[in-house]
Structure formats: C-alpha cells, structure tokens
Amino acid sequence: MLPLVETKDLKKYFRVPDGWLHAVDGINISIDAGMTLGIVGESGCGKSTLGRLLLQLLEPTDGIIRFQQKDVSSPNKGQLKELRKDMQMIFQDPYSSLNPRMTVAEIISEPMRRYRLYKGAELRERVVNLMNTVGLEQRLENSYPHELDGGRRQRIGIARALALEPKFVVCDEPVSALDVSIQAQILNLMMDLQEEYGLTYMFITHDLSVVKHISDEIAVMYLGQIVEQSPADRLFEQPRHPYSQALLSAIPRPKIRKEQQRIILKGEISSPINPTPGCRFAPRCIHAVDACRTQNQELIEVDQGHFVACQRYDEI
C-alpha cells in the first residue's frame, strides 16, 4: 500500500539574529491512507511547524514532501490551489481560529465559495449538512463565534476543514484548549468522521493520553527530530528512548500511585539555535555517555515498525 503523505529529510530553519533556528531537522514520515499518525512532543519540538510545512503554510528549507506520490515541496499557484482541496487543518485555539466578524455559516461556507464549488441554495444545503455532521444545531447558522462555547467553536473549525472533502487533515492540538468533558465529545466526533469519510489524520499534541486513544502510530519529537516512532500501543508498553520514557512517566495519572518511581528530567530543553552535532537530548539524559554527545543519532529499527534514535537503546 502506497503512502498518502510522505516526507524525506524535511527541514525548516528560521533565520534569527544569533544564527539559524532548526525548527524541523530531517524528518522522515510516511502516512498511509485512513491512518492516524500521532506527533507528540513538548513546546519547541517543532511539531506545529511540521504540520504547517505539510500544508504549505510554510516553505521547507530542504527535503521533500510527497502527496499521493507526487512531489509537492514547492508547488506553484495552480498546484497549491488543487492541493488545498485535499489537505486541511483543524486548529488548536477555538477562539483565534475563527474570524470574529463572520457568522458560523459564512465561516463554514468560505472554502466552498472561494473554490466556487456551490452556489445559492445548494451551498446553503451543504453548510447545513456539514453542521449536522459535526453536531452543530442548525439554528446557530447566523451566530457569531464569540456567542458560542469552546466545544461548539471547535466543531465549526472541524466543519470548515471538511468543507472541501479533503483526504488528509492535520489536527494541531485540537482538543487541548477544551474542558475535559468536551474533549471526549470532540475526540469521539473526530474518530467517527475518520471512519465515515476515510480521512487520514496527523494528530499533533502534547497530551499522551489523548494521542494514544486516537493514533495508530506515534512519533515522539524532540528539538526538531523524531526520537522514537512506533505503533501506538507498543510505545506505551515499551518506550525505548530515554525521552519517551521520561515523557510517559511524567504524565500525572488520575490514579492514586503508591510511591512510584518517577523519572524527573533535570534541566531545561537546550536551544534549537545552531545545534551542535550529537544527540540533542544528551544534556538531560541520565544514560548519556561521551559518544552520545558527539555522534548524531539515527533511527534504528528495534522491532517491527518500532524505531529509536538512540545508540544505547539496548543498554537501558
């Protein structure tokens, strides 16, 4: 089965006064149709930048992006317009991702109007259908975003993303800003939609419990690189990279834990500006040796579909 979305050695560097900021540094991913790839990491790891690169909201510094086996790394205007029909995004902030001056119907119909796909009564019908699909009451058609709560606003964002019937949807922390009881509603909705429309998701989040629930495969990012990638369940049963292990152990579980050994990382994340060669996690890693600090870590396949970027993986 050929992948729907692929990247090869994708890089994005930003020019800053002190040098170059390596936001995304050599990412290789491959997502099959109908699958969900979860991208997990903390702030500064580059996950949001990766999502935006795939949607051509940012231009890659280097590397290749392929969609349906075609190179889309630097599309021209016409190609871009076509691509946008197939690749969409659900944003994190249900407050700033909707234009405060537009009504719900205007927001949802905008993609279809820009592409002149439907007009008049047909357009309106399509908007109503989309609203039903995402669980928005029809009477909210003429409401403004500020009149509605976070959960409803996020549903508007989802309806908008689906308007052009895309194949691939990047979900950038879509439930992080919502209350716990609403998060569950939206996650269920997203999973139902995936099944019904055969959507492919890239699910970006820092919340490990959410990502486990929705993903087939998970990639853990740290400072612009993937440090571990594996099928979802396996990552939680057997995290091999020290960072993944610390990340998993750091999550506060809603269970009473009796004196559990927590891996508390020391220090802070190092700077992504002009990084030196060697493992970028080494400064905080309890297992780090000299070799780690000088040699770049490549992803090693330790099990079927399970990759780790740590040369000491079998010693820890």
């Binding site: 946008r84 995004m89 407050y95 991702s97 234009n99 405060p100 993609p111 592409y115 909210l140 509605l148």
Partner: protein, 292 residues
C-alpha cells in the same frame, strides 16, 4: 430551566457593534460629544432652511451689530449675519473634515495594510517613505501643496488629507501586525483565499476599532488645519464662509467688536471638542479587551 443553548438563541444577532454601542451609551462625555456633533451637523446640513439670511448678503446699514433678536450672533464688518455664516461655514468645515479624512484613510490605510501584511522590504520601503513625509510639519506640507496647486476647496482637502496619510498608515500597519498572526488567517489561506482577499475581507474588518477612533480624531485635526490655512489666507476664498477665515477677517476688530471672532472661535472649539470626546468614548467602547 434555561441552558446556554437557549440563551444563545435569544442573543442570536448580537453583533459586536451592538455591545460597543451599549458601552458607548454609558459614557456621558461621549454621548455629549455625539449630541453636540449631531447638532453641528444638522445645522450645517439644514443651513438653507435654518439660516435667516444668505451667507453673502451684505447690509452696509447694519455693520458691526452686536448679537440681538434680529441677528443672533450679530453682524460683521460688511453687515453679513454671522449666525448664517456660521451655519454655512459648518458645511464647509465638515465637508473638508470628512473628505480629507476619507483620502487619508483610503491611501494611508491601504499603504499601512500592505506594509503590515507583507513585511520585510515592502514594509521598509513604504514606512520609510512615509517617515519622510512625517518629517515635514503638516501645516507646512499643506501650505506647500496649496501654494503649488492653487487655493480652493478641493486642493485644501487634498493637502490636509495627504498630511494625515502617515498616521493612518501607522495605525493600520500596527493593527494588521497584531491580527495577521491569528490562526483564522492561516485557515483563510487553507480555504483558498488570496492575499488581497485576506487583507480586505478578513483583516480589515477586524481592525475597524482603531481606525474609527482615528477617523474621529483626524476629522478634528483636519477642521483645525483648514481653519488655520484659511486664517493665513491659503484656504477657502471669500465670500464662502469658513470659520478660520472669519477669525482672520475679524482679527482687526477684536478689541471693539469681539463677537466677530468669538462665534467662529466657539464653533471651531465646539466641533473639535465634540469629535474628541466622541473619539475617546469610541476608543473605550471598542476596546478589544472588553469584548470577551
């Protein structure tokens, strides 16, 4: 029992403007400004109906009359009714204020929007050029333009309009900068919007608040500038009444017949004051911090 859904239904079309208006109503100063400005506008619009005399009707038997029942504001050096001249003068001032601001907003706003949206070299080029313009004192700039193009109402409006372009550009640019990083702009790109559509249909409607405030304050400044220019003889030519020109003409008689300068002065002051009060009130009412 009413849930949030039902509340939303009852507030279905509660736009942001309505809530701003409600906030504006609470400020007594702003309402006073609005009322005063409305009176001045009505006086100017209905001058034909309200004015007891034509503005250029000279009655040499009734020169230098103090305010009386026959001439509410008295008469000037050639017997013209000052009250009528104030009303017609209002027409002139308001037109100048409005149109010059329209010129500034369109040109300045577009330049600011383009500079703010594209950033980089475009931004630098536009803003540094406007900085050069800013370096020239506004009155001097206006004088230069009027001298080059000749006196007259349209040239006056153009001159004043151009001198306000940098301040509008700056305000629009700053507002665009703060809004363009919002996620809904990215969403608009993904929806197939091109740059022009994003700037004018998405960004501009969201930055109306500071623009509106600046419009009221700029109108006040324009009227003042027009009066200043007319005062030094570069603006409106007689016999068309203009408050600044009336001030200038009445200068010579200020000691004995101060009413000739008092009323135009008061008219200028009232207009500027009302616009400033309104502008301040609007700034508070449209404050985005209060919106959420």
């Amino acid at each position: 029992m009413q849930s949030r859904e039902e509340t939303n239904r009852s507030r279905k079309n509660y736009s942001l403007w309505l809530s701003a208006w409600r906030r504006l109503r609470k400020s007594r100063m702003a309402m006073f400004g609005l009322a005063l400005f409305a009176i001045i506008c009505l006086g100017a619009i209905f001058a034909d109906v309200i004015a007891p005399y034509p503005y250029d009707f000279q009655n040499l038997d009734e020169t230098f009359q103090f305010p009386s029942a026959k001439h509410w504001f008295g008469t000037d050096s050639v017997g013209r009714d000052i009250f009528s001249r104030i009303l017609y003068g209002g027409r002139v001032s308001l037109q100048i204020g409005l149109i010059s601001v329209l010129i500034s907003v369109t040109i300045g706003g577009s330049l600011g929007a383009i500079a703010g949206y594209y950033g980089g070299k475009t931004d630098n080029l536009i803003m540094r050029t406007l900085d050069i313009l800013l370096a020239i004192p506004a009155i001097l700039l206006a004088i230069t333009i009027v001298t080059a193009l000749g006196p007259g109402m349209f040239n006056l409006m153009l001159a004043i309009g151009v001198s306000s372009v940098p301040s509008f550009a700056r305000i629009v640019r700053a507002s665009i900068l703060s809004v363009k990083e919002q996620e809904f702009v990215e969403a608009a790109r993904l929806s197939g919007c091109n740059d022009a559509h994003i700037i004018f249909s998405h960004l501009v409607p969201n930055i109306m608040a500071p623009i509106i405030v600046q419009v009221t304050l700029s109108m006040a400044l324009s009227i003042l500038s027009a009066s200043s220019l007319s005062f030094i003889g570069l603006g409106i030519q007689p016999p068309m009444p203009e408050w600044g020109a009336m001030l200038s003409a009445g200068r010579a008689y200020i000691r004995n017949y101060s009413h000739i300068v008092l009323f135009p002065g008061l008219a200028i002051m009232a207009t500027i004051l009302s616009l400033n009060l309104l502008g301040d009130g609007l700034r508070d009412a449209l404050d985005p911090r209060l919106k959420n």
